[in-house]
């Protein structure tokens, strides 16, 4: 099927430019009204959701000519889903899916990006999307965590590549383990045997590599008798929860982001946050925990003949509104002394951190530019710190702050919770 299945969708784009802005009813002023980093940075309409669809429509009709500019357009996009979320306020059409399918088509036809190709080469060799130094499970040394490859576990903590290998991010894994232990959760990790979820490979267009990773993970999950997978990475969450389901690989396993799990543990009285942190924060919704993290909708049907774009059975569009938004906010609000102030663009209309879609690897300057925009918005709230729930966001924000000299602090939600225990 591939891209061709979305021919009607790409043709129905009316070029209204709503994919560039948050929905008109949500606009409350001149500032922070743009939603798409790509068009905001590169200006040409071709770098917007609608402009990309216009190009796909022309390509499906006349064939694709893979010029340098076309590949620049394809790979300078975080595939963050913002354009579709905004478009679908008014239009009944798929936006994200054709964009993803085209990137997959590019890869299948050998039109790859050298930086992403290098990352995927590493994935195939090491099972990691980041450079590996030492063993994957080394961060857990001395913590005496259960090994899911050797014993049955109800709860598997899937740590993720960046958190496992990046020395600056291993603190998140340790904080997560501390929280789960404190709450008395009997959980395990796969340690050195853990492998990439495949989510970021999918974003980069490497569907086959994603499928290989997904199958490896699901085999481990099945063997270990896992009932619940917990991730502290939004990419991992999106992969296990949405992409695996989309590709009929997920089975019945429950997938929770650590913020959802902490929220549950607090409400069950298993976790008490006591220490006053005395901090004013704002919260950044990671794309793949938020709008992209909403459940996959399995739909099969057909267009009803005639002039109207209607389907039998009616088609439900993923607008990003059913993503994970409240649990992280509930957790933040439950930390003593933490005052949460919201930014303008939140939840399904959150501005991306810049790291998605492989952009952090293929165009770090663009990733940092995007992150800087978000840091500016965070600063406008008067908060001392921006809290996120994904190591990729934290990494990108920190790099942007280092480059700009901003005094904004960055925390992952697990860091705050671990401090407050």
């Amino acid at each position: 099927m591939g891209l061709e299945q979305y021919e009607d969708d790409v043709n129905i784009c009316c070029r209204c430019s709503c994919c560039k802005f948050i929905p008109m009813q949500q606009i409350v002023g001149r500032e922070y009204t743009y939603i798409c980093p790509s068009i905001s940075r590169y200006h040409y309409h071709s770098y917007s959701g609608g402009g990309r669809l216009n190009i796909l429509a022309a390509g499906l009709k006349n064939g694709f000519n893979y010029t340098d500019r076309l590949l620049d357009i394809v790979y300078n996009c975080q595939l963050c889903g913002a354009c579709g979320a905004s478009c679908n306020y008014a239009m009944d059409m798929e936006v994200q899916q054709p964009l993803e399918e085209f990137r997959i088509k590019c890869v299948e036809e050998g039109q790859t990006n050298p930086a992403l190709q290098k990352v995927i080469k590493g994935l195939r060799k090491t099972g990691s999307m980041v450079e590996t130094q030492g063993k994957r499970g080394a961060w857990a040394s001395g913590l005496k965590l259960k090994d899911a490859t050797k014993e049955k576990v109800d709860v598997l903590y899937h740590v993720g590549c960046l958190t496992s290998y990046d020395k600056n991010m291993q603190k998140l894994a340790k904080a997560t383990a501390k929280i789960l232990k404190k709450a008395g959760v009997k959980f395990g990790i796969a340690g050195d045997a853990e492998t990439c979820c495949g989510g970021r490979a999918y974003q980069m267009g490497y569907r086959n590599d994603f499928l290989k990773q997904a199958k490896k993970n699901m085999a481990l999950i099945k063997k270990a008798g896992v009932k619940t997978v917990v991730t502290s990475c939004a990419d991992g969450y999106h992969a296990f929860k949405v992409l695996y389901d989309q590709h009929d690989l997920k089975g019945n396993v429950e997938v929770l982001h650590i913020s959802e799990y902490i929220d549950r543990l607090i409400k069950q009285g298993k976790l008490n946050l006591k220490k006053d942190l005395g901090l004013s924060v704002t919260y950044h919704d990671p794309c793949r925990l938020g709008r992209m993290g909403e459940p996959w909708i399995h739909w099969e049907g057909q267009k009803i003949p005639g002039g109207q774009h209607i389907f039998d059975p009616p088609k439900e569009y993923r607008r990003g509104t059913k993503g994970t938004y409240e649990p992280p906010r509930e957790v933040i609000r439950s930390i003593p002394g933490v005052n949460l102030t919201e930014m303008t663009r939140i939840k399904e209309y959150a501005w991306c951190c810049g790291a998605g879609g492989g952009v952090i690897d293929s165009n770090p300057e663009f990733a940092q530019w995007t992150a800087k925009e978000r840091i500016d918005e965070a600063m406008s709230t008067g908060a001392e710190a921006i809290v996120t729930a994904c190591p990729w966001c934290e990494k990108t924000f920190n790099e942007a702050i280092r480059g700009s000299g901003s005094s904004m602090k960055v925390f992952d939600i697990v860091e705050l919770v671990a401090k407050a225990i």
Partner: protein, 490 residues
């Protein structure tokens, strides 16, 4: 038409290499037209320099904002004004705002609401530029089109910067006609072939009192936003009438009594599109509202500056509707639906649902003229749509038209369109035929002359040869023919 390397470099020197592109790859996203180059100027000086280069090299040039619509010949220097996106000034005392071309109406309006102010909003949508040429839902209370243009900064087709009205002799934007030069007759035209040649880089738009909240209390999730509460001195209603004559009787009286914040001559299909969140529900809701409707109708918002003011407006409204045998559509009195309509029809955020969502395209015959006359024509144009509906070529809207009166309502906009799937060739051909036939009928039966497309000698003669005179003006201000005919409206 490709630019030579030397000419390309001259343009590039003005804006920098990042802001010019002639790669055919990007052209499908620019209306599928092979432009000579797409360029992003940052300020007035750059626009002026680019226009002068076009004169030097005899290249045609056009500028766009969000560019929802537009017809462009190939080979243009196409200015995408995205980088000129500043609100220069909001002058609360003198009630005007100065904007650059890429400020969209939704942004400016949000800033104005905070200050208790409002503006004319284009019916096309708040995703369109806040610059010139607006008319739409609010025309009864704000007037439309050139009524709202104050001073303008205009780059003529020869590259001269002309600042009209008060800006011609002061540093203020408060007036379009003086004490500096008034160019209103030339710069205010929005209808082809009289679209003003040249490029507007800043304009002042007139502001009005906004009796509503500083921010709509939106709740819920996309695609259904509702209001947490209805403002105390605002009301939205849809009234239907037993005949077109009765509807017109009420519409003109409401205009003359100046009580409406908004009078939008929606039909049930457009209301259904506004309040439903998908095409499937849209079709069902249309049938429901159509059954409930007594006949042709319109949508009204009244807003009072005090409870007494609101009570007066409401009393007058109800009396006028009653006298014309009109009835409020009960389904739409539901507070949730009323809230949706109040917000969407002041923010103009659902026009995409009304036009593009159902089929992907629409073709329209719009006319700004004497409202009672054009309504009579539109009834026939609507009847002519019915066979297309029966054949499944176009989306069923009951053959309806829409429109609104401007200010007191004698002048007004009347428009009728067909929503269809443009990829169905038979449907597209049928719609084009309908459009041509009904435009011809409008002229033959002396309703109006549609001015889209080439002007025939017959039409020209009946309209005092206006197009000939206009052409003479264009030739005087554009001797090198750098400005294309027509152009983008939004």
């Amino acid at each position: 038409m490709a630019l030579s390397k030397e000419v390309y470099r001259e343009f590039e020197d003005v804006v920098g290499p990042e802001y010019i592109c002639d790669d055919p790859t990007i052209m499908p996203s620019y209306h599928g037209v092979e432009h000579a180059a797409v360029i992003f100027p940052e300020n007035t000086a750059q626009v002026q320099a680019l226009v002068k280069l076009c004169n030097k090299h005899k290249l045609r040039i056009a500028a766009i904002s969000t560019a929802w619509t537009g017809m462009f010949p190939p080979g243009l220097i196409y200015l995408d004004m995205r980088r000129m996106n500043r609100i220069i000034e909001i002058n609360e005392k003198n009630m005007y705002a100065v904007v650059e071309p890429y400020v969209i109406s939704g942004q400016l309006q949000a800033e104005l609401f905070k200050r208790g102010l409002h503006m004319n909003m284009k019916g096309a949508g708040s995703n369109c530029t806040a610059l010139l040429r607006g008319h739409g839902h609010l025309d009864q209370s704000t007037g439309g089109d050139d009524r709202n243009h104050l001073a303008v900064e205009w780059i003529t087709p020869e590259g001269e910067i002309v600042r009209t009205g008060a800006m011609g002799s002061t540093d203020e934007w408060f007036c379009g006609d003086g004490p500096g030069p008034s160019m209103r007759a030339i710069i205010s035209s929005a209808v082809p072939p009289g679209v003003t040649p040249g490029i507007f880089t800043k304009t002042a738009v007139k502001l009005y009192n906004w009796p509503g909240p500083s921010k709509w209390p939106i709740q819920g999730i996309s695609p259904k936003y509702t209001l947490a509460e209805l403002p105390s001195n605002m009301m939205a209603r849809y009234y239907s009438f037993p005949s077109v004559e009765k509807m017109w009787e009420a519409e003109i009286k409401l205009g003359e009594n100046e009580i409406c914040l908004e009078l939008m001559g929606f039909n049930p299909a457009m209301v259904a599109a506004n309040i439903t969140t998908c095409n499937e529900d849209d079709a069902k809701m249309f049938q429901k509202l159509n059954a409930e409707s007594k006949g042709p109708g319109f949508f009204v918002i009244i807003a009072g500056n005090s409870s007494a003011d609101f009570a007066y407006r409401k009393k007058v409204l109800e009396q006028i509707v009653r006298d014309a045998d009109g009835e409020s559509m009960k389904s739409l009195e539901d507070p949730e639906i009323e809230g949706i309509l109040l917000c969407q029809c002041t923010r103009i955020s659902a026009s995409i649902r009304e036009t593009f969502r159902p089929g992907g395209a629409f073709n329209s015959i719009p006319i700004m003229s004497q409202r009672d006359l054009t309504i009579r024509w539109a009834v026939g144009a609507g009847e002519a749509k019915l066979p297309l509906i029966e054949k499944g070529y176009i989306v069923d809207d009951g053959g309806a038209f829409f429109g609104w009166g401007v200010e007191q309502g004698h002048l007004g906009k009347t428009e009728i369109f067909c929503k269809f799937n443009p990829r169905e060739e038979e449907a597209a051909a049928a719609v084009t035929k309908w459009q041509q036939e009904q435009s011809k009928r409008a002229f033959d039966e002396s309703y109006f002359a549609s001015l889209f497309g080439p002007i025939s000698p017959e039409v020209s003669k009946k309209m005092s040869g206006f197009n000939v005179w206009w052409q003479k003006i264009v030739e005087a201000v554009d001797p090198n023919k750098v400005a294309p005919q027509g152009g983008p409206l939004v």
